[in-house]
Every structure is written in C-alpha cells, then in structure tokens.
C-alpha cells in the first residue's frame, strides 16, 4: 500500500484494475445471492456462529425450518467488503430471499416477531415450520 501511495504511476494503472476487480466481485456476489431461495451472509458457520447477531439469524431460520445457504464472510475479506457494497448495507449478517436483500439481524428479528417473515417466505414458495405448528395447535383446539 505504501508503495502505491508513493508512486502515482502505479496508482494510475491500478485504478481500472481495481474497478475490474470490484465488478468481478459484484458479479460473483450476484451469483451467490441468486443461487438459492434463502442466502445468509454471516460471521462463522451456522453450526458455530462467531457473532451474536449472526447467531440470532441462524436461530430464527432454524425456528422457521428454513433451508438456506450460508457464507462465512470471515473467510473471505473480498466477500466481507463486497457484500456491504452490493446491498449498500454496512453490517453483517445479511439475509437475501429470492435474490433480494431483506435485512440484517434487527429487521429479521422484528419480521419474525410480527409474523411478516412467514409471509415473506411464503412469497418465495417456502412454508415456515412455525406456520405448521400454528395449524397443529389450531386443530388441536378444535
């Protein structure tokens, strides 16, 4: 980095190259995001989250019985920065449903509490396990 700062010539050549790299990263992220119905970018892996906010999202997904693809941003610095730029969202975790950015931990938690998450999953053709539980409870009451 120091060499780059000291030598403007190298920097000149470097800018288009950086641009090329960042568009390439954006393309890769687009593929990741659209690869599955539900995609989560998190710190750590679902079996062992390395951050409380990421863990909260994992627990919410578990409660709803949602299958998702998880990407550990701690394993890939390009992905960690790239995903923030892609969704214009400054923090991790990030949840995508049907290729669209839905929110981070706060929003997912609130959607879970309000029931909106069940609706959002339904739109993507996913049946929340909590919905099944509710049905069972209603039938038992009958």
């Amino acid at each position: 980095m120091n060499i780059l700062m000291k030598s403007p010539k190298i920097l000149k050549f470097d800018l288009p190259f950086c641009y090329y790299l960042s568009t390439k990263i954006a393309d890769n992220i687009k593929n990741l995001v659209e690869g599955q119905k539900v995609v989560v970018f998190m710190k750590g892996v679902p079996e062992q989250p390395r951050c409380g906010f990421s863990n909260a999202v994992v627990q919410i997904m578990r409660m709803h019985g949602v299958k998702y693809e998880a990407h550990d941003v701690l394993q890939d610095e390009d992905l960690r920065q790239g995903i923030k730029e892609y969704s214009n969202w400054p923090t991790i975790p990030q949840v995508f449903i049907n290729g669209e950015f839905v929110g981070g931990c706060d929003i997912l938690l609130q959607m879970h509490q309000s029931g909106d998450l069940i609706e959002e999953l339904k739109k993507a053709g996913i049946n929340s396990a909590l919905l099944d539980d509710k049905k069972e409870m209603a039938e038992e009451k009958k």
Partner: protein, 136 residues
C-alpha cells in the same frame, strides 16, 4: 547477564510507555464519548426525534475498555411515518455513514414512530451476547 538485564529493562520500559499511551487514549474516550455524541447530534439534527437513546454496547464485546465500537440506537420520530422498516434502517445507516466507516463496527437500530413507541412496552432489548451466547 548484564546484557540480558539491559534488554529486559528496555523491553519493560517500552511496554510501560505503550501502556500509558493506551491508558490516556482510553480515558479520553470515557470523558467525552466523542462518537456517541456525534451519533446523537446527527440523529437529533436530521430526524428531530421525540425520544432518543444511544447505548454503547461495546463492553459486551472483545474490545478494549471504554471503546466505542458497538452501539444500539432507539429513535422515535415522526419522520418514520409511512416508511418501511428497511428504509428506516437505511436512513439511519446513511446518517451515520461516517461513524460506520470509521470504527463503529456494529449498529443495532430501533426505529419507531411516536404511535408505535407509545403502544409498545417501551423496552429496549439488549443485543445478543458476542459469540454464540444467544438464548443463554
């Protein structure tokens, strides 16, 4: 032996120096809470909230004492009316863009309209523990 002593002395001296510098830095941040203040100022200026709370949750994380890295903000504002949750969050993130790019690592947001805040239980839930402590 003498040489050894000398290098040890030098080591401990530079260690002391380092320690005192960090101590000064840390005490500076306790007295002012510079980032906390700038978060408050910006949110108040742009969202003119009827209620605002800024909670420094950094102590819950593996960072030096008195850090300003992890925050939770509660903003109750009329300006959130008819705006979706995600747009409210984007608005707050945008207002605090500078802070988020310069050291603020986590920002938990509660963005409510005065009506929503009044009809809620008015509890600000603490954020989940740092490493997999959720539900403990």
């Amino acid at each position: 032996m003498l040489k050894l002593l000398n290098t040890n002395q030098i080591k401990s001296r530079s260690f002391l120096k380092f320690k005192s510098v960090t101590r000064i830095l840390a005490s500076m941040s306790t007295t002012s809470g510079l980032i906390e203040q700038s978060i408050r100022d910006k949110l108040v200026k742009i969202l003119s909230p009827s209620h605002i709370e800024i909670i420094n949750e950094s102590y819950m994380h593996n960072v030096p004492k008195n850090s300003e890295t992890h925050f939770k903000v509660l903003v109750v504002s009329n300006k959130f009316k008819d705006i979706t949750l995600i747009k409210r969050h984007r608005l707050v993130n945008d207002i605090l863009k500078e802070e988020l790019q310069n050291g603020v690592h986590a920002l938990s947001i509660m963005a409510k309209t005065p009506e929503q805040w009044e009809s809620s239980n008015k509890v600000i839930e603490s954020s989940p523990n740092c490493r997999g402590g959720f539900g403990k």
